[in-house]
């Protein structure tokens, strides 16, 4: 079901040192060129962010541990992540203040904009796009906006600074192609010509917008300015894309993944998608990924499951419905666990990929049965934080998720002290080195 490729764990610095039987303090071997190079590489190794939301909730009684702190007893679902115990932190009592409205809040998972169900609601920029603005120019793809959805639709949880939804890619094959399939010289030329034609088109329509702006009133001009800014922004993107077209795409051993198109195969598709995400990170094709999992209207092909997932989440506390939903959620946690383990197994320049990649996994529903928007089940894996603990906050007066986002921004080297409703970094979450 998954496609495989050989594990390439880089020789870590410590392994290297052990191998030659040296136990010197690290600074003193700076003269050793190879070792020095490795050390420098570690510092230069990029940091990354993967944010994953599953939009129909995670049953809270199976997710949240009872005790807090480092000695917490893993909950039913967290036992699935047991092997990763010291690589993640589980939170409780997190929420976005002012975010309510049942399902509507899925679109503010990464933005924190209040009252998403309100009549005049306007979204704000999502965390991944803040990161993409800062780091996006370093990689072929500034950021990946992906979804795993039954109809292979274009939903996502990423929004531009104007609050416009960025369509998500649902096809694993298309994603793989975009990342790794170089094509013939003619293909590359055609792509470059296409980008050039796009830029020349933008010149023309931009000139027209300017001309039009002279003939209209102030409020119309504001709208045209927005159009004009969009053109500028796209022009920059096309320019960068063109520059990347002249550099060959990375080669990976994993073959093009199979596309699971049936709604019931959603979890298989999730697995494939996560595999390609890992490849994208390993090849440094991008550093920011947002993945939106939307099992709406899906009769999951998990053994023992006979009901559509969304109906199951409205289980009305009926034990047999809860049991079915539990099977689906367990399978999903296993898929996430495989992804995290694979990231840990993949190394680059002496660090594990997981240590360099912050993975947020969570849901906007505190309890889907009652559509509550408080106490969001959330966890953070990897990224170079001190993990292995349960950070518990007030389950009623929730602690802002945006504080976690500020911690993540700072970890990525972005100078930020605020994001959405945040009042600082997340209390109790410390960087490891």
């Amino acid at each position: 079901m998954n496609f495989h490729f050989t594990e390439r764990r880089a020789l870590s610095r410590r392994t290297f040192l052990k191998g030659i039987g040296v136990s010197l303090a690290l600074p003193s071997i700076e003269a050793m060129t190879p070792a020095f190079a490795v050390a420098a590489d570690v510092a230069k190794t990029p940091r990354r962010l993967v944010a994953i939301q599953t939009n129909l909730g995670i049953m809270p009684h199976l997710f949240f541990p009872e005790k807090d702190g480092p000695g917490y007893e893993p909950s039913h679902y967290l036992k699935i992540l047991e092997q990763l115990h010291s690589d993640f932190t589980v939170f409780s009592g997190l929420g976005h203040p002012g975010v309510d409205g049942g399902h509507a809040n899925e679109k503010v998972f990464l933005t924190g904009a209040p009252h998403p169900a309100g009549a005049g609601f306007r979204n704000t920029v999502s965390l991944d796009q803040v990161v993409a603005d800062q780091l996006g120019n370093q990689t072929r793809i500034p950021s990946l906006t992906l979804n795993v959805s039954p109809g292979m639709n274009s939903s996502s949880m990423s929004f531009t600074s104007a609050g416009v939804l960025i369509p998500g890619e649902a096809s694993v094959a298309a994603l793989y192609k975009r990342l790794f399939i170089q094509g013939s010289k003619e293909d590359v030329k055609a792509r470059v010509d296409d980008l050039k034609a796009g830029r020349s088109l933008l010149d023309s329509v931009g000139a027209r917008a300017k001309q039009m702006g002279k003939a209209v009133g102030a409020s119309d001009r504001n709208r045209l300015d927005q159009y004009f800014t969009s053109i500028r922004e796209l022009e920059k993107q096309l320019h960068q894309a063109e520059a990347w077209e002249h550099k060959p795409k990375p080669k990976v051993e994993a073959p093009e993944p199979r596309e699971f198109t049936e709604g019931g195969q959603l979890l298989l598709r999730l697995g494939s998608m996560l595999d390609v995400i890992r490849l994208a990170l390993e090849t440094d094709s991008t550093r920011v990924v947002s993945l939106y999992i939307q099992p709406l209207g899906v009769l999951s092909a998990v053994e023992g499951v006979q009901h559509e997932t969304h109906s199951l989440t409205h289980h009305g506390n009926r034990p047999e419905m809860v049991a079915e939903l539990q099977k689906i959620e367990e399978a999903q946690f296993k898929t996430i666990a495989r992804f995290l383990l694979a990231l840990r197994g993949a190394g680059e320049s002496g660090a594990s990929l997981l240590d360099r990649t912050s993975v947020v996994y969570g849901t906007c529903m505190g309890n889907a049965n009652g559509h509550t928007n408080k106490n969001w089940p959330m966890l953070l894996a990897g990224g170079g934080f001190k993990h292995g603990q349960h950070l518990a906050f007030d389950k009623e007066q929730n602690y802002p998720i945006a504080n976690l986002y500020v911690s993540l921004l700072q970890r990525l080297g972005i100078e930020a002290d605020k994001f959405a409703s945040s009042k600082g970094t997340l209390k109790g979450l410390e960087m490891a080195g």
């Binding site: 009549a119 416009v164 329509v205 209209v216 993107q237 409205h314 009926r318 419905m321």
Partner: protein
């Protein structure tokens, strides 16, 4: 403090004229709570300047006006102002707010430049190119909404993401629009199979003489390999099947999947029966089958008992779609023909023909290239010599204009190379337009295309800009087609195409915001067709003939036109939230009778009812109640109304005592206000307050505990909510919004009538099999659900009027017709103009209400009034 601020503001022109009482009024009755220290509700009157030109400040003053005007402020506990004092204060404030808003509207217009939303964009492309089923909407990011509508200028943002998509879609549309072949490639076939060969002699089977099924053959073939079964395909008379679509049975028709998007003619012959092992007996009811193209519902065909009925349909199909003919009325079954007893449907054949092009090249191509001839682009052999047409070795294409990407179709799809050379991708030659005078042609074609695309006259200098783009490419040696394409692509991504540029100024200095005739034509067409004006409307604009009388004639003509269905769908989607109809799927154990036939019918009902209200000028009362419903057979069965046969929606009188009639007791509304398992009176109450009465309650305060629904049967959601409501701080709002929801408690999550709740559990009575239409004889329902606690649909409205059920509640609600009408007027204005009703528009709303009072707030009258209102006629 407060006085100081107001005194400073005297520099402001509007403030200088403010009548004295407001200052005193605010100080006396409001400043105790709304001062710098308390700032109750976030309002600090000490710093609130009367700067009405500033939008947020203006909005605050409007809110102050509204709360005081409604008597909500000062709150009951505080000293109440005498009515005269209050009225005087408000009068002055109202005049100021109105003056400021009128000035804004005159200077800037009510509506800022508005981007086409994605439905409008898609429809405009469809109409511009004459490709009625072109599907590009889903390729664009979702639009921002305001008050549930995607028509509001302020919420329709644009970003680089959108621009990139516009570029892509422009290319896709041009790929589809431009002809690349010498002549149309028409495919004709007769399909016999539904559900694929693997299901032949499983779920589907041959029927002999409409009388019997050969069970021996069935036995034999069930064990046989697929090719052996295939030989019975051609010889069979009718194909029967007895299951609705299920995970393992997709009722796809043959292997047909178009290579070309376009119009197709589909003819079929279908009928129905009741099956007993080996026997074909008369059906117990008229059945119907749903024709779908890759999940897109095209129509329902009625299938009478034992009598084949022929149907014909001409419809747009997109390349790569698959047709299916679903037995939508039937239950999902896994039948063995030796045991099964129950209803089934039969198809004798289905003939498919298309694409049907009345002319060649098609209209879409002619819109771009006029009458210019097509010419073949030569292929070359491996020595580089051109290959003549029809040669054995087709060769490889040389340089040629961009071609559409190959269509993604499922393996084994027909037509394929087996159906003839014209369907063999290797042998299809590339053709392109030929121009003897490229520059003149470019100028001529663009001068024709641009005014159409931009929906207004286009100056010669503007056309010249586009000709320049083509000329440069022609000079660089490009194909004429490619050069023109570059120009067209710019046009389709330009602000002139993507925005509704509503030019004002024809009204002169006294009326600077009056729309020019072309902009007015667009207002009308984007309102009623969600798309560009047609030739008649444009001609009227050109002749400056869009007078009040002509507008009314045009509204009538446009509503009679098929394109107005877009308005009906889009407006009901947004006003009544119909777009959310599939947001939840009813729990299959609790609601086994809910299948796609019912789902499709409830949506059609609400749309048809709205259409009927417009056609017959029915008014606000009909929103609440009515003596007729718009239903088909399936829905009649659902509503307990007899004598309705067939899948077509028609007008049927409501029998005495039946609770149906009006929007609020329609299946669609009841379903979309429930979640598939339970219905919450709060959700339904809020929906009625908001969408019907226009009094949207404030969102719940943060930090209230939520209710965890429980369907094990021991308690009802209403009981659970009662506990929650007893909390004093919740009671105030819930007293308003819960009662309408209580009145709807007799309706379950699929809009069926209930007197007891369904639950999954051991207690209570099991359902009666007879209540389920079409259920197979052996179908058992004990494991599905049981009837539990009784429904309590009684309540008391916030102003103390008790009701015992929906009938009584409707009577109470009928006293609020004016609110219902006002809500409709406000939402139509928002939808039609792209901006919500603002302070200065309020008087106009009341005028429209007065003008339509005689028609009892008839919806058609209101629609006409809106199209003649200043808000509609001005930018």
């Amino acid at each position: 403090m407060l006085l100081g601020t107001l005194a400073v503001s005297a520099t402001h022109a509007a403030a200088a004229e403010r009548p004295v009482p407001l200052k005193a009024f605010l100080r006396q009755y409001c400043s105790e709570c709304h001062d710098a220290e308390s700032k109750k509700g976030g309002l600090d009157l000490a710093v609130l300047k009367p700067d009405f030109a500033d939008a947020p400040t203006f909005a605050k003053w409007v809110r102050i006006f509204d709360r005081v005007h409604a008597g909500e402020m000062p709150p009951p506990k505080k000293t109440q102002p005498p009515a005269a004092e209050r009225d005087s204060a408000l009068k002055g404030l109202s005049a100021d707010l109105n003056a400021a808003d009128v000035r804004r509207q005159r200077e800037l217009g009510r509506v800022a430049l508005r981007r086409l939303n994605r439905s409008e964009y898609e429809n405009t492309l469809r109409d511009l190119f004459g490709m009625p089923g072109l599907a590009v909407k889903e390729l664009l990011p979702e639009d921002g909404r305001s008050d549930g509508f995607d028509k509001v200028s302020d919420a329709l943002e644009i970003s680089a993401v959108q621009m990139r998509k516009y570029l892509e879609v422009a290319d896709l549309v041009l790929d589809e629009a431009i002809a690349h072949e010498a002549k149309p490639v028409v495919y004709r076939c007769r399909e016999r199979l539904v559900g694929g060969l693997a299901h032949f002699f499983e779920t589907s089977f041959p029927i002999i003489d409409r009388k019997k099924v050969d069970l021996d053959l069935w036995d034999q073939m069930k064990a046989a390999k697929l090719p052996l079964r295939e030989q019975h395909l051609e010889s069979m008379q009718s194909l029967g099947y007895i299951s609705n679509e299920r995970e393992s049975f997709h009722p796809e028709v043959g292997a047909f999947s178009p290579i070309h998007s376009g119009m197709y003619r589909i003819k079929t012959s279908v009928w129905s029966f009741y099956y007993k092992p080996g026997e074909i007996l008369p059906a117990e009811r008229m059945q119907s089958v749903a024709l779908l193209a890759s999940g897109r519902l095209l129509t329902h065909f009625d299938a009478p008992s034992l009598e084949p009925r022929q149907h014909e349909l001409v419809v747009w199909l997109n390349a790569g779609e698959k047709l299916s003919l679903n037995a939508a009325n039937l239950w999902i079954t896994f039948p063995s023909l030796k045991k099964f007893e129950g209803p089934g449907v039969a198809m004798d054949w289905m003939d498919i023909e298309g694409p049907l092009n009345e002319t060649w090249p098609p209209l879409s191509h002619c819109r771009l290239f006029g009458e210019l001839p097509l010419k073949r682009v030569p292929n070359f052999d491996n020595k580089g010599a051109p290959v003549p047409e029809g040669a054995k070795n087709p060769g490889k294409p040389g340089p040629h204009p961009r071609q559409p990407a190959p269509v993604a179709r499922h393996p084994g799809a027909r037509p394929s190379h087996k159906d003839g050379d014209e369907f063999n991708p290797k042998r299809i030659a590339i053709w392109t337009v030929e121009s003897q005078h490229p520059e003149q042609d470019a100028a001529r074609l663009l001068a024709d295309f641009l005014p159409r695309a931009f929906r207004r006259p286009v100056a010669a200098t503007e056309v010249a800009e586009y000709v320049k783009i083509a000329r440069e490419r022609i000079a660089a040696g490009d194909f004429f087609e490619s050069a023109m394409r570059a120009a067209y692509r710019v046009a389709l991504c330009s602000p002139d195409f993507l925005f509704l540029n509503e030019t004002a100024g024809t009204g002169g200095p006294n009326d600077p915001a009056l729309l020019d005739p072309y902009a007015l034509a667009c207002r009308l067409s984007y309102f009623l067709w969600n798309s560009m004006p047609d030739e008649e409307l444009t001609a009227l604009a050109a002749k400056k003939q869009l007078s009040v009388k002509v507008i009314q004639e045009q509204v009538n003509r446009m509503l009679a036109d098929q394109r107005s269905e877009r308005f009906i769908e889009d407006f009901t989607d947004q006003w009544l939230d119909l777009r959310n109809i599939n947001f939840t799927s009813p729990d299959g154990r609790l609601y086994p009778e809910f299948r796609h036939d019912l789902r499709d019918a409830i949506v059609s009902e609400t749309r048809a009812y709205f259409r009927e209200m417009l056609n017959k000028d029915l008014g606000a009362a009909h929103v609440i109640d009515s003596d007729f419903v718009m239903i088909n057979q399936r829905l009649a069965e659902h509503y307990g109304i007899s004598g309705v046969v067939g899948s077509a929606i028609r007008r049927v009188p409501v029998p005495p005592g039946n609770p149906r009639g009006g929007f609020i007791t329609q299946g669609a509304v009841l379903k979309l206000t429930a979640n598939g398992t339970v219905s919450s009176p709060v959700t339904r109450g809020v929906w009625i307050m908001d969408r019907i009465l226009g009094k949207r309650p404030a969102p719940p305060p943060p930090d209230i505990p939520a209710v965890d629904p429980d369907t094990r049967g021991a308690t009802t959601l209403r009981e659970q909510l009662d506990k929650h409501r007893n909390n004093a701080s919740c009671a105030g709002c819930h007293a308003k919004m819960d009662p309408p929801g209580f009145a709807l408690e007799n309706f379950d999550v699929i809009g069926g009538w209930r007197t007891r709740y369904r639950h999954i559990g051991e207690t209570g009575d099991p359902p009666d099999v007879a209540q389920f239409i079409n259920a197979p004889a052996a179908k058992k329902f004990e494991n599905h659900f049981r009837y539990g606690l009784p429904v309590d649909a009684a309540g008391t409205t916030v102003d103390g009027k008790p009701f015992k059920d929906i009938h009584e509640f409707k009577r109470i609600l009928l006293t609020e017709q004016e609110s219902v009408a006002r809500n409709f007027v406000q939402r139509v204005i928002l939808y039609a103009t792209g901006a919500p009703v603002s302070f200065a528009d309020r008087a106009e709303v009341e005028r429209i209400l007065d003008a339509s009072r005689q028609s009892r707030f008839g919806f058609r009258t209101i629609l006409n009034q809106v199209t003649q209102s200043p808000a509609f006629l001005h930018k």
